[in-house]
Symmetry: C2
Subunit: 218 residues, 2 copies
Amino acid sequence: MANPKSEILQQLKRDILTLVLKPGSILSETALSERFEISRTPLRDVLKQLELENYIDVYPKKGNLVSYIDLDSVEQIIYLRSTLEKELIKDLALQMPLKGTLELNRIVALQEQVMDRDDAHEAFLELDDAFHHTLFTLTGREFLWNLIQQCNVHYIRYRRLHLLKRDKLEALLQEHRRLLDCIEHRDLDSVDRLVMQHLRGDIHAKYLQENFAEYIQS
Amino acid sequence: MANPKSEILQQLKRDILTLVLKPGSILSETALSERFEISRTPLRDVLKQLELENYIDVYPKKGNLVSYIDLDSVEQIIYLRSTLEKELIKDLALQMPLKGTLELNRIVALQEQVMDRDDAHEAFLELDDAFHHTLFTLTGREFLWNLIQQCNVHYIRYRRLHLLKRDKLEALLQEHRRLLDCIEHRDLDSVDRLVMQHLRGDIHAKYLQENFAEYIQS
DNA sequence: TGCCGTCATCTTGTATACAAGAATGATTTA
DNA sequence: TAAATCATTCTTGTATACAAGATGACGGCA
């Protein structure tokens, strides 16, 4: 292991994003320092970063709580991503590097493959991320992708909960196919509608509030 | 003073953004702890935050340097902001709260007033920020504005250097007026072109590289 | 002269003792 | 019995001593 701090950071992030650590859970400095066999000082660095990326809320002299899902920021991130990605897709439709089409098709093909696996949801979510990430890398907007990741903790958990119940993997896959069609056939006019449908089509705050109220920010 | 840490953070941020602390300057923990009469531990918290918001680069066991201006991320932030803000303006054109028009007009009027002052640049930049900030608050996108602020250190310094030489305050003010016109007359078709001109019209990387090479990232 | 190794002294990174606010529960008092 | 107060024991916040990597200067040596 190269750097224990980044290992711990990655693990805590993963546990929070996958809801292994539920919103409201307490992350005590002393408990974590014993668990990871490291002193409180480097551990506080990790917690500081988790705080700045909204994974936890720090209540001075009281404790650190895993943040509750903030539906307002989820809505705004979806607005940001849909606005941005429909622009990216139009850019790609006008000037797409060859390897780009190959890469996106490869991802969609993989998504078809994992549909029947036991851990379909898990694998599908990862590939969905890969698809959108590729849109950013192909247009040279890696910086913006990283920026979005920095505030993505609410959206990622929201999507995970949302997908748990309503099985719409097939629909999402179909939408990816349609977006690829737009790029390959330079069909700029359909992009806006498709992106809106793909990213904003499934905002059902009420569903989450009814079924996962204990995870939601008041 | 409520919290010394946030005071120190704000002051260092301000010094870096206004180029009082030049890119490449060293921020030593011990020097700062003596200057602010505080121990290294809380000071490291401040430096950690500056690092995560790209104000400084940390070289382990060597030192902390004020970051150089990264022109690539400047370009991407401008892309992000122009894409986002032209959408916001269209939203406002379709449904503008009354107080919104008043507030934006008030800011533009203030900009006219400060044009002749000695510190015109300083005051104008602040009001320019206020204008764009208002676009976000009126549409309920405060979260996105804050997100952009988190990675704005390169863009803010870029714009400051850029405005130093080419005196285009009058042009910027005129563009604000035109954008307001679009909103008030629901002229959606002109928005894209105007926003592009306003935010992206003045990307002159070469000018900066020639005149401020010592501030630019290699 | 030129090169190499050692050491002194910077830097940040870590561990730990102590300070101080917050919460909980017990004890005392009305 | 109920309420209030105090003390205990959590929590994080701070100061500081020490560890360890990086750097540069100095001196020895070929």
